[in-house]
């Protein structure tokens, strides 16, 4: 296996509290302590070297909807965004609620994926929220977490049992927090803009009720619940207070939620329709504060590809979601440029924090670790052209945005999975 030396870069490895300019050595697919004789050399002067970035919230759509995205195209998208590991959500067709589907995903990933794909399994059969999926068997088949993402388990008793049961297998439970009765048929944040636009509101409290529920269940089960894509200020406050009490609760935020607000929906652009919806500036500020003080542990994309024709419809009937893997790092680096986060704080949310949550032996540059590495230029200026995306989908609200900072090289298991030409 070939060897690499990445020279003169600023190595940021929060897991080992490293932040210094030094060379990084890769041999045999692992991080090495010293240079190998026949190594290829990469000059990373002025660049940042981090553990390969991890995105724990990605919809690859395969099996079932490979017209929207596939394991091949979705992972290429990830590599271009600097991600070496992604977690595939289980709302495929069929749902990842059975070992066969998990085996299929793993096999397809082995054949065509250019980054590591870790499947998440369903909490309930067919994500219907009625009966538990075979969680133990899913764990054996290789899932790293369970979630009904896209759906939210409404039955509190069932959710409690799912968490208790998953604890037995050391599996964290991730939840898309949405009370269906309260959110009803809302399509955007309930507030001034929904009132002005005549669109049905999806109020923040529909998320907060479930965040509060999850905190209580995490507390009584003493087990880990991860709240996916937080969007509201009160959700952040609930998680902050629970963490202070030592509850096993964690949270993620998506770049679109901490970058945009509900005002941007005013042109009825369906690429601004996502679930949970974009909220107010106060909510956005609360997400930034939550990221800064560590209440929000992880940044994830909720990469949700849809066909162009599916999005070119009335706002009410368009599917929720946007693609995000290629713009995620730049939109997050903006928080460093804006001095919301330090670089090591940001890298932590993309590396060791998600690795710890899902017990992945990833997210670090320790000697002997898998050589998953991302080389980042934090100040490169570029324009996102969604027509050039590696995704099959084009549903990004960030098309033509001028961005600052991007991945330059993505290395998976010691091999270059992608590099900027």
């Amino acid at each position: 296996m070939n060897s690499l030396i990445i020279k003169h870069g600023r190595v940021i490895d929060p897991a080992n509290r490293v932040d210094e300019v030094r060379d990084l050595f890769i041999t045999g697919g692992k991080i090495a302590g010293a240079a190998s004789s026949k190594a290829d050399v990469i000059d990373a002067t002025g660049k940042i070297i981090t553990p390969g970035l991890i995105d724990i919230h990605v919809h690859l759509r395969e099996p079932g909807r490979s017209d929207k995205e596939s394991i091949e195209t979705g992972t290429r998208c990830a590599a271009r965004g600097g991600f070496t590991s992604i977690v595939a959500m289980p709302n495929t067709t069929p749902a990842a609620d059975n070992t066969g589907t998990i085996a299929f995903i793993k096999q397809r990933a082995a054949e065509v994926a250019c980054v590591n794909v870790f499947p998440a399994g369903a909490i309930t059969k067919e994500l219907k929220g009625e009966e538990l999926a075979p969680i133990g068997s899913l764990k054996r088949a290789g899932v790293v977490a369970i979630t009904d993402d896209g759906r939210c388990v409404q039955n509190n008793e069932l959710m409690r049992r799912a968490v208790e049961y998953a604890k037995m297998f050391d599996l964290p439970v991730m939840d898309h927090c949405q009370d269906y009765n309260v959110a009803a048929d809302g399509v955007m944040h309930e507030g001034y803009w929904s009132a002005a636009l005549g669109l049905r509101g999806w109020p923040a409290v529909a998320e907060e009720i479930i965040v509060a529920r999850n905190i209580l269940l995490a507390e009584i089960t003493d087990w880990h619940i991860h709240c996916q894509h937080l969007s509201s200020a009160r959700s952040v406050e609930l998680v902050r207070a629970a963490k202070k009490r030592g509850v096993k609760i964690s949270a993620e935020a998506c770049p679109h939620h901490f970058t945009l607000t509900d005002e941007s929906v005013k042109e009825y652009d369906t690429n601004l329709k996502m679930n949970p919806p974009l909220r107010t500036e106060a909510d956005r500020q609360a997400l930034l504060a939550g990221l800064a003080d560590g209440t929000i542990d992880i940044i994830a994309s909720d990469h949700a590809p849809h066909c162009t024709y599916e999005k070119q419809v009335e706002f009410d009937v368009a599917p929720f979601g946007i693609i995000g893997l290629e713009t995620e790092l730049a939109l997050s680096l903006a928080l460093v440029h804006q001095k919301v986060l330090t670089l090591p704080q940001l890298i932590e949310k993309f590396t060791i924090n998600p690795a710890k949550l899902l017990r992945l032996s990833k997210g670090t540059l320790s000697t002997g670790a898998d050589a998953d590495v991302t080389v980042i230029d934090p100040v490169a200026e570029w324009t996102y052209d969604v027509e050039q995306s590696a995704s099959k989908a084009r549903n990004s609200p960030f098309h033509n945005w001028n961005l600052k900072g991007r991945a330059m090289i993505t290395i998976v298991g010691g091999k270059i999975a992608w590099q900027l030409e």
């Binding site: 009803a184 507030g191 001034y192 009132a195 002005a196 636009l197 005549g198 669109l199 049905r200 042109e267 009825y268 024709y309 070119q312 419809v313 009335e314 706002f315 009410d316 009937v317």
Partner: protein
């Protein structure tokens, strides 16, 4: 303002005061046309106007159809049941097909807010919003303003109360934009679940006390309770609504003596309005319908590129 610049009429929110006045003045000229023995003018001869109604409507569709006919346009009506939309064709494809047939104006009524805004940039044809979900119904607001001006001589400074289901009402939104732009004092009233406080941010007064809402009103615009847009949880029953917020004879008697009653129709007698109140001389409900025709002729004429009304 000398010329009308817009291809489309999507809403009131984006219009300037000058544009609103230009439309209302043009409607005044068309109202005179309606009083002649020959009510037809050749302004849109050779033009094709499509009434694309994806949500049921009788009064607005008829009004637009008659307006286009009186302008000598060829008119086709497409309703949701008859169209291919039920076969799974997208709205975009339906509209592009109509354009391929050289439609010059597409009048759209749709249950989804923003549907006309979605179509307008895709089409060379003019797009006229005849009501999109709970968003806007610009020609209704224009005909309401036209009627108020005709009866009261002004809008600025009037106390105008809009009573009923504000949350789900496109008529309310278009009226709010228009009346506040023209300087009226707008009060919104009805149950707290249908008239949320967020509407104060539109420059309106919000009250849930019916007597407070009616006391100083110069104009009361009653809205129908929109059963089809509502969930069960918003208020207990139609009966309770009538008791708490219906314009009954007692409440009517306490109004200012010159207060005017408006309603966009269809009215539900005995629900939001007492039957006799609906028919009384201070009710202008049918005049609104007449004025709607003039307003829609003006809108079709101007958006099709017409500038001066032919005499």
């Amino acid at each position: 303002m000398k010329r009308w610049q817009r291809k489309d009429l999507l809403g009131i929110q984006e219009l300037s005061v000058a544009e609103i006045n230009f439309l209302l003045n043009s409607a005044q000229a068309f109202k005179q046309v309606g009083k002649r023995s020959v009510k037809k003018v050749p302004s849109l001869r050779g033009k094709t106007v499509v009434n694309l109604f994806i949500e049921p409507s009788t009064r607005t569709r008829t009004s637009f159809e008659l307006a286009a006919t009186r302008l000598s346009a060829d008119v086709i009506n497409i309703t949701a049941n008859a169209s291919s939309l039920v076969k799974g064709e997208t709205l975009k494809d339906t509209a592009l097909n109509l354009q391929a047939l050289h439609a010059d104006v597409i009048i759209i009524r749709h249950s989804a807010a923003g549907a006309p805004h979605f179509l307008a940039p895709l089409l060379k044809a003019s797009v006229i919003n005849a009501g999109d979900g709970a968003h806007e119904h610009p020609t209704q607001a224009l005909l309401d303003a036209f009627t108020i001006l005709e009866k009261k001589g002004k809008i600025a400074g009037l106390n105008i109360t809009i009573l009923g289901d504000i949350l789900f009402s496109r008529v309310a939104r278009s009226n709010i934009w228009l009346l506040t732009k023209l300087g009226a004092n707008v009060t919104l009233a009805g149950p707290s679940t249908l008239v949320p406080r967020v509407f104060e941010q539109f420059g309106c007064r919000v009250t849930h006390n019916i007597d407070d809402a009616l006391r100083d009103a110069d104009v009361v615009n009653l809205l129908r309770i929109q059963h089809e847009r509502q969930r069960q949880t918003l208020f207990p029953s139609i009966g309770e609504y009538t008791t708490m917020f219906g314009l009954n004879k007692e409440r009517f008697a306490r109004l200012k003596p010159d207060a005017m009653i408006m309603h966009p129709g269809p009215i539900n007698r005995g629900v939001e309005i007492d039957s006799e109140v609906a028919d009384c001389e201070r009710s202008v409900i049918l005049e609104q319908v007449t004025n709607g025709l003039a307003v829609r002729m003006a809108v079709l004429f101007l958006c099709s590129g017409g500038q001066a009304v032919e005499s």
